[in-house]
């Protein structure tokens, strides 16, 4: 009986154990599945939350900064503070741009496009405001593409400033210290030595004039000249010719620079050399003019009467070696003028 009892106990234990193992296994499996499902749902929710959170954060931050920038720009009215404020606005704008660049990873295409459009508008606003409040200076930097003013403007100016008929030696002074003649038509213009001695002389916007400068300027600028005869004593440094047409120029100088000039004859005494650039139909001959006292003026100007490089002309538009530039020529001897009109005598005391 005892042996049988023991055996029965064993059987019972096995039975209980089997039952217990089976049920928990099944239950455990179900429980795990339930937990996994819950976890999956939680992850999805978290993911959505994070995305929404970032997106909302960007939108609200970007809009706040944008509004602040717009207010900053529109409040820019005081010229004195404008420069500083615009500078701050520019810095803020750049920060906003960086913010967008950093956030591109998780923004939708639509959001990116919207933000970029906002940035472009802001940039335009800043630029417009800057141009409005801080207008460009006379000599401001400018794109090379800007086309130059047309010729009619000088012509119109010339007409408006036309001096009274019959007057001789009219002077139009551009600046307080400026010396020379400007905006004159069909006149004889004369300056004596003491008036131009070692000064910067400007001749500009002259037509059909005869100019006689009986002295030795420091420099001579000849600009926007048409159909004139210009004669000058020894120039210490350089003569600068620009926009000269159908004229005759006569002078000694240390250097000659000629730009944008056509159909012009130059009777030249140059102690270094001459250059031309963007010129056509320019011809050269040796200096042949004289007036009482010119030798003294050569000394004052520091030029040597014995040194004349009038045939040494460099054309910066002509790079071919060995072939002469077609833009300038030597005036044949038979065609050179040796006796000049006697116009407005040089003062004896020079």
């Amino acid at each position: 009986m005892a042996a049988l009892g023991v055996e029965m106990n064993v059987a019972q234990d096995d039975g209980e154990t089997n039952t217990a193992v089976k049920v928990p296994e099944s239950v455990l499996r179900r429980d795990q599945a339930r937990l996994e499902e819950a976890e999956r749902r939680r992850d999805v929710k978290q993911s959505q939350t994070v995305t929404e959170e970032k997106s909302d954060f960007f939108t609200s931050t970007f809009n706040a900064e944008k509004t602040q920038l717009e207010e900053m720009i529109s409040s820019c009215n005081d010229r004195e503070k404008a420069a500083k404020t615009l500078e701050e606005a520019t810095v803020k704008f750049q920060q906003l741009q960086k913010f967008l660049n950093d956030s591109v990873r998780f923004l939708t295409q639509y959001e990116i496009r919207q933000a970029q459009e906002s940035l472009q508008k802001l940039q335009s606003s800043i630029t417009d405001k800057r141009e409005e409040i801080l207008p460009k200076k006379k000599f401001a930097f400018r794109s090379r593409n800007t086309s130059k003013q047309q010729q009619p403007t000088p012509i119109q100016q010339q007409t408006a400033d036309k001096p009274a008929p019959g007057s001789v030696g009219t002077v139009v002074v551009d600046a307080a210290d400026q010396c020379g003649f400007s905006n004159v038509d069909n006149q004889v213009l004369v300056r004596q030595a003491e008036e131009i001695q070692q000064r910067d002389v400007l001749l500009s916007h002259l037509t059909h004039c005869k100019v006689r400068l009986y002295g030795c300027p420091s420099t001579l600028h000849i600009k926007n000249i048409r159909s004139c005869e210009i004669m000058c004593g020894p120039v210490s440094s350089s003569v600068f010719v620009d926009q000269c047409t159908d004229s005759t120029l006569v002078f000694p100088c240390q250097q000659l620079r000629t730009h944008n000039t056509t159909a012009t004859r130059v009777y030249l005494h140059v102690t270094s050399r001459a250059i031309i650039e963007d010129c056509q139909g320019v011809s050269f001959a040796p200096f042949t003019w004289t007036y009482p006292g010119i030798l003294d003026h050569f000394k004052v100007a520091g030029l040597s009467p014995d040194r004349n490089n009038w045939t040494e002309v460099d054309d910066f538009n002509w790079l071919a070696a060995g072939t002469p530039s077609p833009n300038w020529t030597v005036i044949p001897e038979s065609e050179r003028i040796c006796s000049w009109d006697f116009v407005g005598t040089a003062a004896e005391q020079s």
Partner: protein, 182 residues
């Protein structure tokens, strides 16, 4: 102050080579300035066709000053000389008011050049011996120099012909040149 004096001031940094570039429109006075610095005769200045270079060497230190021609046709070649420039000197004819806009334009383009990025610039308002010369302050305002923020800059009145102001400008150069080890 000649190139040798500049050299002495810079000698505190041995085994270096300083490269100074002289640029500006034609007729601004670049070559006259260079010859003034080299204590050479300035009575035979010729319009520069290519470039003039002055090189001074002493005890392992070398100073090069390059003067490039300013005619319009040869300005595109300026960029061939930008590499390794330590100081830019831009020369303006203060009496040639009609070309202030042109010279400002060229200067602006120079300052936009990547190879000249950060290079200090000294602007010489030259030809102040002429009565018609604009003062340096007017030129600085016209060129909007105050908007230059990416580098050291200075404008100095001078007359390369008489030498006046050149020394002050070169003193600034000595203080602000940042020569690189070569």
């Amino acid at each position: 102050m000649g190139l040798l004096s500049i050299l002495r001031k810079l000698k505190s940094a041995p085994d270096q080579e300083v490269r100074i570039l002289l640029l500006g429109l034609d007729n601004g006075g670049k070559t006259t300035l260079l010859k003034q610095l080299a204590s050479e005769d300035i009575s035979h200045i010729t319009p520069t066709q290519g470039f003039n270079i002055k090189s001074v060497q002493s005890q392992g230190f070398k100073l090069n000053v390059w003067d490039i021609g300013g005619q319009r046709k040869i300005r595109p070649y300026w960029r061939n000389y930008f590499e390794n420039t330590d100081m830019l000197i831009y020369v303006i004819d203060s009496a040639d008011r009609k070309r202030f806009e042109e010279t400002g334009q060229e200067l602006a383009e120079l300052l936009d050049e990547e190879k000249l990025s950060g290079v200090p610039v000294l602007i010489f308002a030259n030809k102040q011996d002429l009565l018609t010369a604009a003062p340096a302050s007017e030129i600085a305002e016209g060129l909007n120099l105050h908007i230059i923020r990416d580098r050291m800059w200075q404008i100095q009145s001078c007359s390369a012909l008489t030498g006046e102001g050149v020394q002050d400008g070169m003193s600034w150069v000595c203080k602000n040149v940042t020569a690189k080890k070569k």
